[in-house]
């Protein structure tokens, strides 16, 4: 395929009539704002939220960011900053964040015929029914109402494509627009290009870090360059995904709204330990526990797996200790979601890759090649018994029902351990104000 030099590509973009209008609503520092909703004294204070057993920063307030705390930073590295700037530190309170997210999403649903909940703090609203003149004022209305009712402030980007809508919300954040809304609709091509020239490709929806590096190597650094790159060449060189992003940058909608999530292809349970683990016994216990959780998730989504992978690793931030990381995987003859199968397989793999003398910090179980429960492909070489399948399914259904009705972990496998002293502790978690009666706000 011929590569057109970028400067020779005709500058007149393909213009499609903007039949779709999307608005991306993005919660500003969502986890932090959830914490602030229940403590007014930290509204002006820098705040960070820790994840993964208080191991690293998962969210920062704007102030904390300006003091140099970044997402993904290990907790111990930011201790000096926390002290110097009096930063409020929280463990992540996922029950609270999920419930607050549900509140925001259920309010957003009032303002659009179709809503795609994209992540815990992002949702696409179909705004196609609104006239051009109504877009901005409607967007501002949404932001005002949501803020007044939940305390969560939104950045809303409005555009004829999802990629641009996401960019719009990014513009709101960068320029700190008070109204919370930025619309690409009605802007001239020059105005749009001016904005795109300030956005790096890695910040675009659908462009991962690896792709960004490859694009950069071809001289495509900014979103504007990507927009005007020859899209036949893009498709040939990087695949249809990148071509779609480029077309979306031109305002051509290639990513429709999905109101129901696609079935997952893979799922992972991986967590850091509360303390480093040295012995195989504890590692087996942890990995069994993660396998149990994988089983629960699989059955929840009515899926089965044929491929299970296990990984263990030491703490790469601890420079004083010896480092080790390894993974191993195996394939099941028949797809399964039967917890004992998963536990047995995972334990065998861990035993295989475990080496004594290291301090393990993290482990995980990953299942892939997921397929719906109904599809059963009997094994050519026998071993399949319908009755056996049914009995296992009934056992797991009972287990899940008991745990659903009487609380998580009412019933679990002995291999998962009873003490679980390796389990991470969230020491600074705020109360679960909205999901646990014992933890509701108390007033005097």
């Amino acid at each position: 395929m011929r590569q057109l030099p970028l400067w020779q590509v005709p500058s007149v973009p393909i213009q499609a009539p903007p039949s779709h209008i999307f608005a991306l609503a993005d919660g500003n520092n969502f986890y932090v704002e959830c914490e602030r909703a229940f403590d007014l004294t930290i509204r002006k204070r820098p705040v960070i939220v820790l994840g993964n057993g208080d191991g690293c920063v998962v969210a920062t307030s704007r102030e904390a960011k300006s003091f140099g705390v970044k997402r993904g930073m290990p907790h111990f590295l930011c201790r000096p900053l926390i002290e110097r700037y009096n930063i409020a530190v929280y463990s992540s309170n996922y029950p609270l964040y999920q419930e607050m997210s549900d509140r925001v999403m259920s309010l957003l649903a009032h303002y659009t015929p179709r809503l795609e909940v994209f992540s815990i703090d992002e949702a696409y609203l179909d705004f196609s029914h609104l006239s051009k003149e109504q877009l901005i004022s409607s967007g501002q209305h949404v932001c005002r109402e949501i803020y007044q009712r939940t305390g969560i402030s939104l950045s809303l980007g409005i555009a004829p494509s999802k990629v641009l809508a996401k960019l719009g919300s990014e513009v709101v954040k960068r320029q700190r627009l008070q109204t919370g809304v930025f619309s690409f609709v009605g802007l001239s091509a020059e105005q749009i290009d001016e904005i795109l020239s300030q956005i790096l490709v890695e910040d675009l929806l659908g462009i991962g870090d690896k792709l960004a590096v490859q694009l950069n190597r071809e001289g495509i650094i900014t979103a504007r360059r990507l927009k005007y790159a020859d899209h036949a060449w893009l498709r040939h060189r990087f695949g249809v995904g990148v071509q779609r992003v480029a077309l979306e940058l031109r305002g051509i909608c290639c990513m429709p709204l999905h109101t129901t999530p696609k079935p997952r292809k893979a799922l992972t349970v991986s967590l850091a330990f509360g303390r480093p683990i040295e012995h195989l016994e504890e590692l087996l216990e942890a990995i069994s526990h993660y396998s149990g959780q994988v089983g629960v998730k699989l059955r929840q989504h009515h899926q089965q797996t044929t491929c299970l992978e296990v990984f263990i690793r030491t703490n790469p931030f601890d420079k004083r200790t010896a480092q080790y990381a390894r993974s191993a995987q195996m394939t099941f003859a028949l797809p399964t979601s039967y917890t004992p199968d998963l536990i047995r397989a995972a334990k065998a793999l861990v035993t295989q890759i475990y080496r004594p003398g290291y301090l393990y910090k993290k482990a995980g179980v990953l299942v892939s090649a997921l397929q719906p429960e109904e599809v059963i492909q009997p094994d050519l070489f026998g071993a399949f018994s319908w009755e056996h399948e049914v009995r296992q399914a009934a056992q797991m259904a009972l287990l899940d029902e008991i745990n659903r009705r009487y609380g998580r972990d009412t019933l679990f496998f002995a291999a998962q351990g009873t003490q679980r002293s390796w389990q991470q502790r969230a020491r600074r978690r705020s109360p679960r104000y909205t999901t646990n009666w014992q933890e509701v706000l108390t007033v005097t």
Binding site: D39, T41, T442
Partner: protein, 153 residues
């Protein structure tokens, strides 16, 4: 807690009968729910009362408050407010620029507060237990009391 979770079958309201069809089946209506009396469920929270500061105003120890954060507080509203690190329920008094939180008990002096910073939400309903059983139920459900410096206890 086990007595609170009776064994139950999978039966759920909304289905049809297996034998003789229910003559009322087509007339089944949505059942009343306390959520129907909320102004905005997404802005509503439960808050539990400890202490006697508002007893004479009808809010007692162990009552459950329904608080709406989207309702603007007016002079005389029952509000949940944050005073330093603790939350209180009081009656809001607005006299010009002066904002005070008034109790309904002589042992609790009025609290002067900065306007616009301290109000967390407005109390829209008070759930008060009137039988020994319901009192016990509320007590068991809500957070255990912390050792407090309540002057009236």
């Amino acid at each position: 807690m086990s007595d609170a979770l009776p064994p139950s079958s999978e039966w759920q309201p909304g289905g049809e009968t297996t034998g003789f069809p229910s003559p009322a089946h087509l007339w089944r209506e949505r059942v009343l729910s306390l959520n129907d009396v909320l102004l905005c469920p997404e802005a509503t929270y439960f808050v539990c009362v400890r202490g006697h500061a508002m007893r004479k105003a009808g809010i007692s120890d162990h009552d459950l408050l329904v608080v709406d954060r989207s309702v603007p507080a007016r002079n005389g509203s029952f509000v949940v407010a944050q005073v330093e690190t603790t939350f209180v329920v009081r009656r809001l008094s607005l006299e010009g620029a002066r904002m005070r939180l008034l109790s309904a008990h002589p042992s609790y002096p009025p609290i002067e507060v900065e306007p616009s910073v301290a109000i967390w939400g407005v109390v829209i309903y008070v759930l008060h237990a009137t039988t020994p059983w319901s009192k016990q139920r509320l007590k068991e459900t809500l957070p255990a009391p912390k050792p407090s410096s309540d002057p009236d206890l």
